[in-house]
Amino acid sequence: MTLRFDKLGVVIAAIVAYAAFAAPFATFRANRIVPGQARSVLEALPAALGTLLLAILIIGGIVALLRTPLVLRLAASVITLAALAILIGVAGGLLTPAGNTFARIAPASGFWLLIFAFTLLLADVLTRLDLSPSARVGVLAVAALAIGALLVSGSWDSLSILKEYASRADSFWAEGSKHITLALGSLAAAVVAGVPLGILCHRVEALRAGVLNVLNIIQTIPSIALFGLLIAPLGWIAAHVPGAAAAGIRGIGTAPAFVALFLYSLLPVVANTVVGLAGVPRAANDAARGMGMTDRQRLFDVEFPLAFPVILTGIRIVLVQNIGLATIAALIGGGGFGVFVFQGVGQTAMDLVLLGAVPTVALAFAAAIILDAVIEMTSTKRRADSE
C-alpha cells in the first residue's frame, strides 16, 4: 500500500507541527493587564499529561496528513478538540499559583492554532459528509452541550476569560439578554413592517425604486453614526410625546439602538420580499388568476408560499447582521455584549474583550447554522412537493 497525502492535511499537519512544538500553549500573567509569559505544552502540563497531549496531536496530525477514511478523520478531530478543551482547563488550574487571585492564565497562540487546525479538519469532514439540515442542527446542539458541560463542570474556571466572567456574572447575563432582545426584537419589528412594505413595492412599481434606494442609502451610513444620530430625535420624543418616556423611550440607551437595528434590517427584508415575489413563475400566477383567485387569495395561496424561502434568506442575513451590530449599541449605552468588548478595549484587558466577542460570534454562528438549515428544509420540501 502506498501512502497518499491529503492536500488539506498537509496544511493542517504543518499548522499542528508548528503550534504543538514551536508556539506557546498558554500564557501566564501576574495580573490582568501586564504582558504575559509563554508556556509550552510540556511547561503548562505535568509530564504525563503533556506527553499524552503531544501524542494525541501527533496522531491527529498524521490522520489528517494521510488519505484516511472520513470516520477516522471525524474521530481524530473530535478526540483532539476534546483533549485540547479539557487539558487547557487543567493547565489553567496548575499554572495558577495557589491562593493568587490576580494571576491570569489564558490560552496562547499555539492553543488557538491547534483549535483552528482541527476545527478545519472537522469542518472539512462535515462538508464532505454533506449532512442533512437536521443533522447539522444536531451537530451544533451536541457541540453546544459539550461546551456547556465543560463550563458548568468548572474545569475552565481557572482560565482568564472565565475569571472575567466570575467577577461580573450578573451583568453578563443581563447584557446577554439585552443583546438577544435587541437583535431579535428589531428583527421581529423589521419583519412585521418590511414584509408588507415589500409586498407593496412588488405591487406598486412606482414605489419600488424609491423605497429600495432610501433603504440602500441607510445601509451606507456607518452604524456608529446612525446610532448616534437617533439620540436626538428619540430624546425629543421622550421629552415631548406624553407617555413615551414611561414606555422606556430615551435619547440614549436601548431605544436608539433598537431603531437603528430596525432601520438596517429593513433593506434585506424588503429587498428579499420583492425578489421572492418577482421570482414567482408567471405561469403559476396566470394559472391562479385563470382559476378565478382574487388578488388576496393569490397573494396568500400562491405568491407568498413560493416566495417564502427567499424571504427567509433575508431574515437570515438580518439576524446574523443584527447580532453583530448589536455590539455597537454599547457605545450609546444600549447594552449588549458590546459593553464588555468596549470596556475591554478601554482597559486594554483582552480577556474582557473576549468575554464580549466570543458569545457574540457563537450566537451569530449558531443563528446562521440554524436558519440555513430551516431555509434548506423549506426549499427542499417545496421541491419535493412539486415533483
Binding site: I221, G228, V320, L325, V341, V353, A357, A368
Partner: protein, 249 residues
C-alpha cells in the same frame, strides 16, 4: 431630461462633499443648531480632509489586499489541483460571514495592538468574503461551450485563465469588490474605537461629548463616500458587462 437627473444629483453630491471636506467652516451655521452650550459645530481635533484621506487609504489598502488574496484563492480552488478545497472553502466563507466586524476588530487587537493594524486586519478579513464568493461564483459558472472552445483552440491552462476566464469573470468579481468596499467604508469607522485614524474619530468624539454636529458630519461624509464609490463601481461594472453582451445584475 429625466435620465440626466441621477447623474446631476451625484455630481452635486460630489461637489458638496469636496467643498465640505475642504472648507467645513462654510457649513458652520448649518450645523450650529445641533450643538449645545457653545460647543464647536465643526470637528476641531484634526482636519476632516486628512481624516477622510486616511479613511480612504485604510479602505483602499485593505480592499486591494483582500482582492488579491480572494481572487487568488478562488482561482486556486477552481483549478484541478485545488479542486479538493472547493467544498471546504465554500463552508469557510459561509462561516466567516457570521463573524461580526466588531468582534473581528476586537479579537485582532490582542494580536497586533491598537491603531491602524487591527482595523486593516478586520477590513481585510471582512472584505475577503464578498470578493471570494463572487469570484468563485463567476469562475464556476462560466459558459461551458466558451470554455470548451478555448480548450479546443489550443489555449494552455494559463492562457485560458488570463485570456478567457478572468476577463469573463471581471464584472461579477467587480460586484464583489463593490460590496466589500461599501462594507469596509462603514466598518472602518469602528476602527476608531481601537485608535485608528478614520472618520470614525469624528463620530466617536461626537458620541463622547454629546455633540450631534460631529456625529452627523462624520456619518454623512462616510455615507456620501459610500454612495459615490458604490455608484462609480456600478458604472464600471455595467460597462464591463455590457461589452460582453450580458445584463448587469
Amino acid at each position: 431630461m429625466r435620465a440626466w437627473l441621477p447623474a446631476l444629483l451625484r455630481l452635486a453630491l460630489l461637489v458638496l462633499l469636496v467643498v465640505f471636506i475642504a472648507s467645513p467652516g462654510w457649513f458652520e451655521p448649518l450645523l450650529r443648531p445641533l450643538t449645545e452650550n457653545g460647543a464647536p459645530a465643526i470637528y476641531n481635533q484634526g482636519s476632516l480632509l486628512t481624516l477622510t484621506l486616511l479613511h480612504l487609504r485604510t479602505v483602499l489598502v485593505a480592499t486591494v489586499a483582500a482582492t488579491i488574496v480572494a481572487v487568488a484563492l478562488a482561482i486556486l480552488v477552481t483549478r484541478p489541483a485545488g479542486a479538493e478545497f472547493l467544498p471546504l472553502s465554500r463552508s469557510l466563507v459561509n462561516i466567516g460571514q457570521t463573524f461580526p466586524p466588531v468582534a473581528v476588530l476586537a479579537l485582532a487587537v490582542p494580536a497586533v495592538g491598537f491603531g491602524e493594524k487591527p482595523t486593516l486586519i478586520a477590513l481585510f478579513l471582512y472584505g475577503l468574503l464578498p470578493i471570494f464568493e463572487n469570484a468563485l461564483t463567476a469562475l464556476t459558472t462560466l459558459p461551458g461551450n466558451v470554455m470548451e472552445a478555448a480548450r479546443g483552440a489550443g489555449m494552455t491552462g494559463w492562457q485560458r485563465l488570463m485570456k478567457v476566464e478572468l476577463p469573463l469573470s471581471a464584472p461579477v468579481i467587480l460586484g464583489g469588490i463593490r460590496l466589500s468596499v461599501v462594507i469596509s467604508l462603514a466598518t472602518a469607522t469602528i476602527g476608531s474605537t481601537v485608535a485608528a485614524k478614520t472618520l470614525g474619530e469624528v463620530i466617536i468624539a461626537g458620541l463622547i461629548s454629546n455633540n450631534l454636529a460631529f456625529v452627523l458630519q462624520g456619518g454623512l461624509i462616510v455615507a456620501a463616500l459610500a454612495v459615490l464609490i458604490y455608484d462609480g463601481l456600478s458604472a464600471i461594472e455595467r460597462y464591463a458587462a455590457r461589452r460582453m453582451g450580458r445584463e448587469a445584475e
